[in-house]
Amino acid sequence: MKAPLAIHLASAALALAATAFAAMPSAVAADTPDPVADAKAFRNYFVTKFPNVPLDDFANGPYSLNEDMRRQWEEKEQFPPYEFSLEMGKEMFAKPFKNGKSYGDCFPNQGIGIRQNYPYFDPGEGKVITLELALNRCRGANGEPPLSYVEDEMAALTAYMAFTSRGKPFDIKIPDDPRALEAYQNGKRYFYTRRGQLNFSCATCHVQNPGERMRAEILAPALGILNAMPIYRSEWGGMGTISRRMITCNSQIRGVPLEPQADEYRDLEYYLSYVSNGLPIAGPGARP
């Protein structure tokens, strides 16, 4: 599909508009990140913008903001379309690897009811570890080839792990380690940074315009946006992981996506999960 002329040119014109942007006064001075204050302001923004939405309901994305869509969703949830994926995930999770071990052996509490603790900062590696990454590392440690981050098997596994954790509030920790704080800050920067030819940031859609229609879709609020992952999207006719969702977000604004589980995506997941601390895990979810 060809871009509308105005957008095409407006974006190409960014380079030409250098002076205009450079002249814009920076509204805020550089300062040290304060995740606690950030999370408070973040939550406050959404509950003020949508005073009638119960806090936990933000985990249900666009359905928290639109009654007609909510009814369609509730109908679907009677017998949700992710049911088959969930079952596949449960079987995969229980099936031993060739060496006799299984996924459960790689995780605390045998992997049950722990989704809310991911991603976490690993001080040994100095980086953020997401659940998808941890699952593939588990496979690697047991001599199994990695799964694609954007295909059905990974979605099914994470669906099952989320399902066993439903209702548990996100509990993301930022340890007292400057590298953890840096990862958090990098995630935040990625979230607010405009990119792609459309010159959108994640925040353009999910902070400034949640509840609005973007072409056909109702945009989800950023608060709680990962709580229902992975999601069955009617548009995909199947399940998708967090990796898949981030990649499609980038493509939709005409940016070339990064490789799945790139540092930027891991940090972004860390940031978004942290600011949704306290909201319940609701995955797997169904979305348009």
Partner: protein
Amino acid sequence: MASTIRVRAISGGETTEVQVLIQHPMDSGFVKDAGGEIIPPHFIQELTFEYDGRYVFIADWGAAVSKDPYVKFSFKGGRKGDDLKISWVDNKGETDTTTAKIQ
């Protein structure tokens, strides 16, 4: 092979509510694949529900029923622990059958 049919049949006393979800592509024959080739039609045409030796519900479906189709209905009677037999056949002659216990 796991069944393609998921059933929830719940007796509420006088009536039994039945919901099914079936794993099936329900290809309409109007959609092209990534390579631009038409995906040939492949959809369930008939779905039957038998209880106590009689049909309690029969669905005739065209290609416009959604992927992984779902249907819900209720019938009078049906006791907890009784069998409900569900079968489908699609336009290629493929078929699946399952028997579920009413709960």
